[in-house]
Structure formats: structure tokens, C-alpha cells
């Protein structure tokens, strides 16, 4: 069994049933997980910031960094596995977007990431069937290609699935 490990701003997809797609220690970042039931392909992008306008040059080397460019890039990647390029019929799951303890939510990058991800998904008429967003903890996400099971771990907490 192989693991496809995605760093910040990276995206990847696989249809090998032996694989898992994994990303570590999401803080304010959001993992967007796309599942194509038709081709049994799993894709994931580790989004760090909401909008690419903050650094358009970065889009050329790492489109996955931003919500508005990462999701289209992931759909394009998954289309090479025979998936619908518009994501038709996909199952979507989201995790991450955490924040520091602050009742005013001053540094709301996590929340803005989550909103920007949802906005971009809506453009493709996609919505999440499961999400674990916000709160004040780090998340590591592992998705099994064989089962589609999405496991979330966080140091000091029991594992959970979405």
C-alpha cells in the first residue's frame, strides 16, 4: 500500500486501490477531498490561502496553494484519470480551517479558506457531503482509495472519521 503525501499547496490524485492520500497537520489550511465514484479516483488539494490575487506568480508553480486556483487544478488533474472535468457526480469532503483561541476571530484565515473553498466548489455545482471545519485543533487527514474512508487524527485526541 502506498501513501500519496501532500504538502502545503500540493495536490494529487490516484485510482490505485492500495493507496491512501494523506496530508499532515492542517492548521488554518483546508484539505479538499474529491471522490469520483465512477472511476474510483480520490483527489486532494491542501489549500493554504483563499485567493490567488495575493501572489499570482505562485499560481504558476503551485496552483493548489489557493482555493480559487487549487480546486480547478485538482479537477484538471483528476480528468486525466477519466473523471468528469467539471466534477459531475463527485463526492466532496472538507477538513481543516482551524483558528487560534480568540472570541473575535481576528485572524480568520481558516474561516476565509473554508468560505473560499465552498464558493469555488459552488461554481462547479459541488457541495460537501461531510466536513470538519473550524475549531482550535490541528488535523492530519488520510483517505483510503479502496474504501473512501476519511480518517482525521489530532495529537492528544481520539481519531474520528467524516
Amino acid at each position: 500500500m502506498g501513501n500519496i503525501i501532500l504538502g502545503v499547496g500540493e495536490l494529487g490524485a490516484t485510482n490505485s486501490p492500495a493507496d491512501c492520500v494523506k496530508t499532515f497537520a492542517l492548521g488554518s489550511c483546508v484539505a479538499v477531498i474529491l471522490m469520483c465514484p465512477k472511476t474510483h479516483t480520490i483527489g486532494m488539494v491542501h489549500v493554504a490561502l483563499p485567493e490567488s490575487k495575493i501572489n499570482p506568480d505562485k499560481v504558476k508553480t503551485r496552483p493548489g496553494y489557493f482555493a480559487d486556483t487549487g480546486i480547478p487544478a485538482l479537477l484538471k488533474k483528476m480528468s486525466t484519470f477519466g473523471c468528469d472535468p467539471g466534477g459531475r457526480g463527485f463526492i466532496v469532503k472538507l477538513a481543516g480551517g482551524a483558528r487560534i483561541m480568540d472570541p473575535n476571530n481576528t485572524f480568520n484565515i481558516g474561516k476565509r479558506n473554508a468560505l473560499a473553498v465552498k464558493k469555488t466548489l459552488w461554481k462547479f455545482s459541488l457541495g460537501a457531503v461531510a466536513e470538519d471545519l473550524g475549531e482550535t485543533y490541528s488535523r492530519t487527514v488520510t483517505v483510503s482509495v479502496a474504501t473512501g474512508e476519511t480518517l482525521i487524527t489530532s495529537p492528544g485526541r481520539k481519531d474520528w472519521k467524516i
Binding site: 492548521g27 485572524f107 482550535t136 490541528s138 492528544g156
Partner: protein
């Protein structure tokens, strides 16, 4: 039930921690001065052959991708920057602490160093937006050191993370610091402060270590630095952390008294952290492997 350690046990453990190397100590003293000459840094490095070798190996690492090899220590220091030179000397001198597995925080080997490096990069970025003069190099160095107390407390916190997080979730304690104090009578900022005193670090660095989660309690003269590290630590946790205390601290909103920061600045700092941490980590580990 297992007997928990006491404050006295922790203070005794701190006294057992080896002192920093003379080079690291001297570099931190120099870097904490408001005005210093880069030649002072170069002179210290030149007197330490192991540090000289490490710096040359680091600057010539593949990660930096320089076309021409750097063979002089003057050029190596100037390329790496004083802040990173002090950081490398510090990591070399106290690598057992920086690279230990943070078992008490359920963090892997290297987690503390990575968090410290992320904090240092973010604090340096935040320092640019200070309303008064604040040395970016000093903010970086303070960031490297700020969480050193966790290396001390980790050994005394085994198996406590789940209980501590449950107490925070149920609002029985307000944050991880209070949880540490409930268990051990001391939190990691105080443990770090005690170690900083034992190491005779400059007062500015002692204050950054002691108050990085409670910057309002720092003496007024050090608050810009301490707030830079406070914000740097938060940005580092937002950028990703593998330990149980990640994001379990409060933002002190009074940072606005010292910094003009927008959400865009925070986003830029996050970008810089993610960009730089990998390059610095790769260069340092290459330099380390080649030196050994």
C-alpha cells in the same frame, strides 16, 4: 496513580541541562544588541572550526542552489544572514533539546525545531509592521528560542495530553498554559525562562521566552519584541503543527498597540513561513549531514 513531578523536580532538571557553547552564547549576545557590526559575528564564527564548517556546508547545500561555491566565512555569514548564523549555532549547541521527541505533547522528533523555525520566520515578517524600531534579526532569534521550555516540560507531561485537552474543551481550564500549571505547578514559558536565566541569555530573549503567550505582562520596553514572537507563534501554529498544544492558546488583541497588521499581512506571513521553512530545513539538514 502515577506521582506527578513538582516545580522543584523541574527546576532541578533545568540545572542539569548543559550550558550553551561559548560561540552560541556570544552570538546571541551580539544579535540582541540594537547596533552591532557583522564583523563581530564573523570573528566569533572564525574562532569555532566546527561552526565554520557547518556554515560553509549549509550555504553550499543544494537547497540554496548557489552557482558559485562559497569558500569564505565572511561571504557565508553575509549570505545566510546573522539571524540564521545565530540559529545554526544555537541548534548545534542545544540539538539534544531542539530535536528531542516531544512525548509530553505527543509531538514527533523535530517538531519543536520546526515550530521554532516557523515562529522565527513569522516573527521576522511581523517585525516589519512594528510602529517603532524593532530588529527583524532579534525577532527571528527570539522566535527560535521562544518555546524551549517545552523541551523541558515534555518529559514531565507524559500521558497528560488527552486529559488536558478535555479540560480545555469543557472550559475547566482556559488554555494549555493553565493546564500545564495545574499538572506541574509550572508552565512551559516559566520553564523556558528558568533555562534562559541559567544560560544567561540577554534579557530581551528571556522576556520573549517568558511572555510569548502573555505579552501584556512583559516590561513595556520589550513588548514590541514579545508581541512579534506572540504573533509569530500563532502564525506558526496556523501554518501547521504536530503537537497536542497546537492552537490551544489565546491571541492577545493588544498587539494593535504596537503593530499595524491586516489580514493580508498575516496571509503574506503564512506564505513566507511555508516558502522559507522547507528551504532552511533542507539546507540545515544537508549542512548537518555533511559536517558529521
Amino acid at each position: 496513580m502515577e506521582q506527578r513531578a513538582t516545580r522543584a523536580d523541574i527546576l532541578a532538571a533545568i540545572q542539569e541541562i548543559p550550558l550553551l557553547s561559548p560561540s552560541a552564547s556570544r552570538l546571541l549576545q551580539i544579535a540582541s544588541k540594537e547596533d552591532y557590526d557583522i564583523n563581530e559575528i564573523i570573528e566569533v564564527v572564525k574562532c569555532d572550526s566546527a561552526l565554520t564548517a557547518r556554515l560553509l556546508k549549509t550555504v553550499n547545500s543544494v537547497a540554496y542552489g548557489l552557482v558559485h561555491q562559497v569558500t569564505s566565512i565572511d561571504r557565508a555569514v553575509s549570505y545566510l544572514g546573522e539571524r540564521l548564523v545565530a540559529g545554526i549555532a544555537l541548534e548545534d549547541s542545544a540539538k539534544a533539546l531542539f530535536n528531542k521527541k516531544l512525548e509530553g505533547y505527543e509531538g514527533p522528533v523535530g517538531e519543536l525545531w520546526e515550530h521554532d523555525l516557523r515562529t522565527a520566520i513569522a516573527a521576522r515578517e511581523i517585525a516589519r509592521h512594528c510602529q517603532t524600531e524593532l530588529s527583524k534579526d532579534l525577532a527571528f532569534t527570539a522566535g527560535i528560542l521562544h518555546a524551549i521550555g517545552k523541551a523541558v516540560l515534555s518529559d514531565f507531561l507524559h500521558g497528560s495530553a488527552s486529559e488536558l485537552l478535555a479540560d480545555i474543551d469543557s472550559h475547566d481550564v482556559k488554555d494549555y498554559l493553565e493546564g500545564e500549571r495545574n499538572i506541574l505547578g509550572m508552565d512551559h514559558t516559566e520553564a523556558g525562562f528558568e533555562l534562559a536565566k541559567a544560560w544567561e541569555l540577554p534579557e530581551s530573549l528571556q522576556m520573549a521566552i517568558h511572555h510569548h503567550h502573555t505579552p501584556q505582562e512583559a516590561p513595556e520596553e520589550y513588548r514590541p519584541l514579545v508581541y512579534a514572537v506572540h504573533l509569530g507563534c500563532i502564525i506558526a501554529m496556523m501554518s501547521g503543527s504536530h503537537s497536542s498544544d497546537a492552537l490551544q492558546y489565546h491571541l492577545d488583541k493588544h498587539y494593535t498597540d504596537y503593530f499595524n497588521i491586516t489580514n493580508e499581512h498575516i496571509a503574506m506571513a503564512l506564505l513566507e513561513v511555508n516558502e522559507s521553512v522547507g528551504v532552511i530545513q533542507s539546507a540545515l539538514s544537508e549542512g548537518r549531514e555533511l559536517s558529521e
